[in-house]
Amino acid sequence: MPNLTLAVVLVAGSATVASGGMTLGELVAFVSLQLMLIWPIESLGWIIANAQEAMTAADRIYEVLDTPPSIVDRPGAVTVAESRGHVRFEKVGFTYPGTDAPVLRRIDLDVRPGETLAIVGATGCGKTSLVSLLPRLYDVTGGRITLDGRDIRDIQLDSLRRLVGMAFEDPTLFSMSVRENLTLGRRETTDDEIYEALRVAQADFVYDLPWGLDTRIGEQGLSLSGGQRQRLALARAVIGHPRVLVLDDPLSALDVHTEALVEEALARVLHGTTALLVVHRPSTVALADRVALLDGGEIAAIGTHSELLETVPAYRAALSAEALGVPDDVVSR
């Protein structure tokens, strides 16, 4: 294409020069200017192609940026610094986004300040979903949850999560120092508080790591065993004495001996702290003042461990030690 126009210019130009309409120098200058034009015109094609690519990429990025966070502070949400720790679930229903089947239906619970409530139920009955609602990792889809009588959605998210300490079934540790993993960036935490929390969680193994609290753990650092990770996650939850504790089966990966030690220390922490405790094991139930049996997304029974053990057959099936304690039963099958 550029050569075509060059040919035309050359023929016409030569004719003009021949007839004296322009000088030879002018023609040379013109042709050399024209040659300079070739590259920008050629690259136009590439620029258009690149622009198309960028537009598609920009669409993708906007898809993400345009997704509004579903859990945000309501207008007029207040900061709560202190709490008595009175937690109430009022007709709470919950359905995971994008699914039809509700996970939880009309849950009514009243956890008094300082009380420890254990949640027991079969695998997949919604225990983890239930306790995730309190720190607002998900929002209820029906009813409401209150803290000291105030809907938790009217409390600033940041202060709510400051009041509620958590440990999950699957402890997540980041590639950071132990200290940073425990405080997660809260600068106000002192080494004494860390020490205290590690003691409760029976995680003093930290002090035996090569650089103590400064040792990097997680994906890019030192690998810890399942039990060690779980104890750190527990320490993270109890650090700074949160008013409300949510512990999702926090002792599952501990050996019997450590579990007993952690339970003992945890009993002291739980005294005076409101706590929701997801429990799979009879031994951990002992930590709770009351137990709620969750079945099919509803509260099937609520009461003390011994009450339920006596009166509710489903509870016995879920937690009774006998079934496990008698291996002969297993053998005979």
Partner: protein, 610 residues
């Protein structure tokens, strides 16, 4: 470690985030990345030759332009001016048209062919890197992190894509232009050409400087972008914990720093181009000025025709313009080389548990007898995990490993599954050293179920079938029934066809575990390892599994690690470990009666059952 970085903490090995190969010298890095590039391009030699041929056609056609201009001025205009004869000019214009057509066809053919070559190279590279990542042992991945893997496969790949997409074009065309124009210049007017070539030492000097500086700069950008992606992947992977503990602001601050580092690294690279690229242009322009002065003087004295000088100047522009493109190509090459260095580093990494060169077959019908002979293992020499272990597990025996955290229980399991090789001694299966067994055979023979088993997005059935690919729906359902997982699966909205979502997020931990058991059952291995496999189960699920365990463990060798002694009680034999040594060994009932450590543990556990 600066104070701003203290959150990272100290790692045992400062270079833990590099591949071993990356610690080599810079010269070796370069050399290896060139070897990699060579091996990628070699299969396409012929196609590349053809592409270059097409380029030559395009180039030759394009180059004819200025020469035809000269002909037009020197041979076409005088006849037209003197006697109105258009014929020479029309002949020249026709030649011009032919050249234009040649340029069009050459370019079109080249673009199609070079795109094909470029995409084939990228396909090959991605495949090689992915295959290699899959082959590298667990310990490599524990060190390297998933974020880095993502960086290697995305941003490094992009940087190489940029080279292969436009690179061949730029390099060959620009290189050819420069060379052929140099030839024409020499032929047109040797003294003027000699003057032009004086620019070369300066060009070379500038390019050498740029090569060194930009190699460093681009290495930095590759590492910076990897850190950005690592942080992204890791913090979003743990988003529950991040939100629950209000770590967002801190994460944001860390990300800002990493992101800014990346920006700075890129800016630095751009600053280098900002010196190099205009530098090339300035040298070119000075050369043109010198040629004009000298050439004008020559024309004035009648040593050169004015048409020759005009053509010379036009060619000169065509000489330095591709120089500009060459400098840009060089820049892209430097950036891609830095990425290639990283990928070559990964490809050079040897799996810590290499596949044997000549594999020994496991004896057919072998029952799975395991033997540890003077096995010694440690991650760091100063911290022995297993000092020296001798152990015989007869075929079909179920052995429970009991002991405190860090006693070496999981290490024994990992040695049997060959996630690691022993530092000293041998582990044999049916008399064959595990190091001599082909990977595929070993994975079929030994299956491990751990506390957290990975489920992939897909249906429940797919996830179970993972144990033995190709098994029928009935076999899958049978495995689920044998484990007792059928009840919960059938209660799911779409039964076996329910999508479990990423990492099995749709299912509870206990349900995931049941799926993992069904998967192991379907796999039907000779040796089954259960490493804390029942600890996340609730009592009813464990009861279910416990019944199934009898079925699963029958007729195969099993190692069971569990702190729930309910799982241990079904073992034929219990080993109590302490600091990597076996301190008690015997049938569970004997040990309980014997009143040793196991008896203590057992009593504690009994008490804990309320």
């Amino acid at each position: 470690m600066s104070s701003a970085d203290s959150w990272r903490g100290r790692a045992a090995d400062g270079a833990a985030d590099q591949t071993l190969a990356e610690t080599g010298s810079v010269v070796r890095l370069r050399a290896r990345s060139r070897v990699l590039l060579g091996s990628l391009i070699r299969p396409h030699r012929r196609a590349l030759g053809l592409a270059i041929g097409l380029l030559l056609l395009q180039n030759a056609a394009g180059m004819a332009g200025p020469y035809l201009v000269m002909l037009g001025i020197d041979r076409g205009i005088p006849p037209l001016r003197d006697n109105g004869d258009m014929t020479p000019l029309i002949a020249i214009a026709t030649a011009f048209l032919a050249a234009a057509a040649g340029e069009y066809l050459g370019k079109r053919g080249f673009l199609i062919l070079s795109a094909r070559i470029g995409q084939a190279v990228l396909l090959d590279l991605r495949q090689r890197v992915y295959d290699h990542f899959q082959r590298l042992s667990v310990d490599f991945h524990e060190r390297y992190t998933s974020g880095r893997v993502v960086a290697r496969l995305t941003s490094d790949m992009d940087s190489i894509a940029e080279l292969v997409d436009g690179g061949i074009d730029d390099l060959v065309l620009a290189g050819l232009s420069v060379l052929s124009v140099a030839g024409i210049l020499l032929w047109l007017d040797a003294p003027l050409a000699a003057v032009t070539l004086l620019a070369f030492p300066f060009l070379l000097w500038l390019s050498r400087w740029f090569a060194r500086a930009s190699a460093r700069a681009y290495r930095r950008t590759r590492e910076a972008v990897a850190l950005v992606i690592v942080h992204f992947v890791e913090s979003l992977g743990g988003i529950r914990a991040v939100q629950a503990f209000r770590r967002e602001p801190r994460n944001q601050q860390i990300f800002e720093d990493l992101n800014d580092d990346y920006r700075q690294a890129n800016l630095h690279a751009f600053r280098l181009i900002a010196i190099y690229s205009p530098g090339i242009k300035v040298i070119g322009n000075i050369a043109i000025a010198v040629v004009l002065t000298y050439g004008g003087w020559q024309v004035m004295h009648g040593h050169t025709e004015i048409g020759v000088l005009a053509a010379f100047l036009l060619y000169l522009r065509r000489f330095f313009e591709p120089m500009q493109e060459l400098s840009q190509f060089y820049n892209v090459l430097q950036s891609a080389t830095a990425a290639l260095e990283k990928l070559a580093g990964v490809l050079d990494e040897k799996p810590a548990v290499p596949e044997p060169a000549t594999a020994a077959a496991l004896p057919a019908g072998g029952g799975g007898a395991l033997t540890f002979r003077s096995v010694c293992f440690h991650y760091r020499p100063d911290q022995p995990i297993l000092p020296t272990l001798d152990l015989d597990v007869p075929a079909g025996q179920t052995v429970a490993l009991v002991g405190p955290t860090g006693a070496g229980k999981s290490t024994i399991a990992k040695l049997v599954a060959r996630f690691y090789d022993p530092v000293g001694g041998t582990v044999t299966l049916d008399g064959i050293d595990l190091r001599e067994v082909a990977d595929a055979d070993l994975r079929r023979a030994v299956v491990m179920v751990t506390q957290e088993n990975h489920l992939f997005s897909g249906t429940v059935a797919d996830n179970i079938r993972f144990g033995r690919p190709g098994s029928s729906d009935e076999e899958v359902a049978k495995a689920a029934r044998a484990i007792g997982a059928d009840a919960f699966i059938e209660a799911l909205p779409h039964g076996y066809d329910t999508d479990v979502h990423r990492r099995g997020g749709r299912l509870s931990a206990g349900q995931r575990q049941l799926v993992a058991f069904a998967r192991a059952f379907l796999a039907d291995p000779t040796v089954l390892i259960l490493d804390e496999a029942t600890s996340s189960l609730d009592v009813p699920s464990e009861r279910l599994v416990q019944r199934a365990l009898r079925t699963i463990l029958r007729e195969r060798t099993a190692l069971v690690i569990a702190h729930r002694l309910s799982t241990v009680e079904i073992a034929d034999r219990v080993l109590v470990l302490e600091a990597g040594r076996i301190v008690e060994d015997g049938p569970p009932d004997d040990l309980i009666a014997g009143g040793g450590r196991y008896a203590d543990l057992h009593r504690q556990w009994r008490d804990s059952l309320v």
